[in-house]
Homo-oligomer: 253 residues x 2
């Protein structure tokens, strides 16, 4: 939460740089240790969490704005990023407005206006992310999708909507490339699908189907060192992967 002077300063910057009424919120999905995770910002001295978000500069394409915002929070550039919905309830930021209404009169407070937020979701490789809090957050960290903290405003709803979109996406597009490390085993990839869909898949059928898409390359060398049988390592065939993104896959899960 801002103090009064911070609020005044920010409002001035905002008014000159950003489009009124429009914000962006990003649901950043990562995958680690068999769990689907979401990036969340914890506000200083509060039990309040928010999605990484920001505003659109007056002369900036919205995709570029989302990319800029995410780069600041994750260190990543050129990540998989897709808008999925606008959240436009007039009352959606009401708690936020009330918070500041005694500090600055509405006509001076840029935040007191109504905001529509454009929801983006991002798929990123967990280990490459460097979560970086912004000025009024005490932390930027990963949260298990199954164990989310208290996200404020409509941010919990935004996360749910993003997850629904991701599950649909799975039915007609390949998605692993953005969430998996360069090399991975088939069971690891399967775990990703199972986590997103929240159901068990048959090991053997998954393998056959996945290979059937023709978007995987198998390495010569299996992974060594672990207990039990050494699994093969796979990586995505980027050319075929891109093609599958455009053309779409068949059928669903």
């Amino acid at each position: 939460m801002f103090n009064k002077q911070e609020l005044i300063d920010f409002c001035e910057t905002a008014r000159s740089s950003y489009l009124d009424h429009i914000s962006i919120d990003c649901v950043v999905f990562g995958f680690h240790e068999g769990q689907l995770k979401v990036l969340g910002l914890k506000i200083k001295n509060e039990a309040s969490w928010y999605l990484p978000g920001g505003f659109v500069m007056k002369d900036e394409p919205i995709e570029m704005a989302a990319n800029r915002i995410l780069k600041e929070r994750t260190g990543l550039d050129e990540i998989f990023l897709q808008q999925f919905r606008v959240f436009g309830d007039p009352e959606r930021a009401r708690p936020h407005h009330d918070l500041y209404k005694d500090m600055l009169p509405p006509e001076e407070n840029w935040f007191s206006m109504r905001f529509l937020t454009i929801g983006f979701y991002a798929l990123v490789d967990f280990v490459h992310v460097n979560p970086t809090p912004d000025g009024h957050s005490e932390s930027c960290t990963w949260y298990d999708l199954t164990d989310l903290p208290d996200f404020k405003l409509d941010h919990a709803q935004i996360i749910k909507s993003a997850l629904d979109t991701l599950r649909l996406q799975l039915n007609y597009q390949p998605i692993g490339y953005n969430l998996m490390p360069k090399e991975f085993t088939m069971p690891e990839l399967q775990k990703l699908y199972e986590t997103i869909l929240d159901k068990k898949l048959d090991r053997r059928n998954f393998q056959r189907r996945m290979l059937g898409f023709g978007i995987l390359n198998r390495s010569e060398q299996p992974r060594k060192g672990g207990a039990h049988k050494a699994p093969y390592l796979y990586s995505f065939d980027l050319e075929h992967y891109q093609n599958a993104l455009k053309e779409g896959l068949k059928g669903g899960w």
Copy 2:
């Protein structure tokens, strides 16, 4: 196109009623005589076409705004309406800005600001629509998707994007209810699917599959009067239809 006084008046209304920077454009799909159609507005004395669109009132949910806009153009209320994407290129309305830049200085002209437009698409029953032009349009009429006039700005792109979304939708949701009249024959419904997907489907397999979804009721009486064999009439079982909308269908085309 506005003249100067109209522009001044409109700007005044707009400033007091609407959210800055945000517009809504609607792709209204209808189906008639085996053709998929889109509603377009033709500007007076110009070879320019636009999608029906409008702005969001300061305290109005965006879905309600889209509904209001469509009601004015079609006479229909409570129609199937869904947002599918935000178009946010900073340059998207450039031609529109240039048009008015000599008439009113930018700081007085509400239209000279940057607008993001939220794309909605609607599915409506062709025969129930009463296309109504707005003040600066000379007509509001249906255009064949295969033979579109010269839509300005990025409206052609918006139409294409809506169509892509509709095609995807077809894979996991029933859609006929909103586009067909109350009663229809199976071949008529098939024609709708063929038109949207732009490919031929097998008559018999289509019938079996459609019936398999369990969302159709067959009437006792076949349609009389036409040449050749009298086909059965079907209507949608609204309860099961709504359920299929929520649960989703299996597989794709």
